[in-house]
Symmetry: C2
Subunit: 195 residues, 2 copies
């Protein structure tokens, strides 16, 4: 019977200082060389890869026992602080493969922004900050950006069957970028962007 | 087009000291009189209702803009500390109407337990504590219990189409109970329980 093979209840620890989930079932890291093409300033990117030995930009721990419809997948993302040129560290960004699936984020430490974009080019942003749940609605592509001076650590929760579509954004990431301007983060359209 | 009427990205504040979500779209409270039949000691329950003016046992704030398949529903539950006789304060407990739907809890303050039960009577428990995500798998009924001396506040995240089935537990709640024994919480089978 299906029930007897269903995943078991559990209480899964995460380290709120580092974002590590010791019992994670999945883990990946993205170094700066994995993110070529996503930042505006590719000279600054290459020079940081040479100078810093290809630094770690973000990593992701996931916990999931099961891929069945209706189940939930959760984990942590840790985006280390820093900039490439004047652009803050970011995740690749994606749509859900099933576009009508939502997600939630909950920042544990650090501060940042989520950039959102619909297929028609409509944009939005929302804050990632402790004490807030950031709601990722159906249909919106989403990319997270660390605008703080410390690691941005957030928990994410998502139906397992949502899936990821990294191709829908056409390789470049999103319409908007988050740049440091006079010492503060500013959301701007990507130079040369055409709707 | 569906996309244009989809809910918008947002960052939804919750008060980690009280569990209040100021922008909640739903809120309910359960007083002791709403929980008649769920605690073992009904004399202790009636005497607390008389002595304390029907105290608030738990409340729930939810945030949801949309009931479409694939969307997510989240909120907070606050279980105030206390006991009815030697049984710790608890929520009603439920199955999901769509039994194959999962949920996650994340304790913000306080400590407690989740009691789990399959339709065949199999039981399990998992901890609710800050720094842990409590995973509620498909098929398991779940009830939360505050075993601490302070409000137990947790965030919950669930697909909107999971639904609630409060009837599947037959009105009495669950097979197991959490009682104070020699000053510490102990999980026991309900007296007279028959599989």
């Amino acid at each position: 019977m299906k029930e007897s093979t269903a995943p078991l209840p559990s209480s899964v620890a995460f380290d709120s200082a580092t974002g590590v989930i010791p019992d994670a079932t999945a883990h990946y890291q993205k170094r700066l060389s994995d993110l070529r093409g996503l930042f505006l300033d590719s000279d600054a990117l290459e020079s940081r890869i040479r100078a810093e030995g290809d630094p770690l930009i973000y990593e992701n721990y996931g916990f999931n026992q099961n891929q069945a419809e209706g189940d939930i997948f959760f984990g942590t993302t840790i985006i280390y602080p820093g900039k490439v040129g004047s652009e803050y560290h970011l995740t690749r960004g994606h749509y859900h493969r099933k576009r009508n699936f939502a997600e939630t984020y909950q920042a544990v430490s650090g501060n940042g922004l989520v950039l959102f974009e619909l297929q028609d080019g409509t944009t939005a942003t929302a804050e990632l900050a402790p004490g807030k749940v950031t709601y990722v609605p159906p249909y919106w592509a989403h990319r997270s950006v660390n605008t703080s001076d410390e690691p941005l650590i957030f928990l994410w929760t998502c139906p397992v069957d949502a899936g990821h579509d990294y191709e829908g954004l056409g390789g470049r990431g999103m319409r908007q970028v988050v740049l440091e301007r006079n010492g503060v983060p500013k959301v701007e359209d990507r130079p040369g962007y055409r709707a």
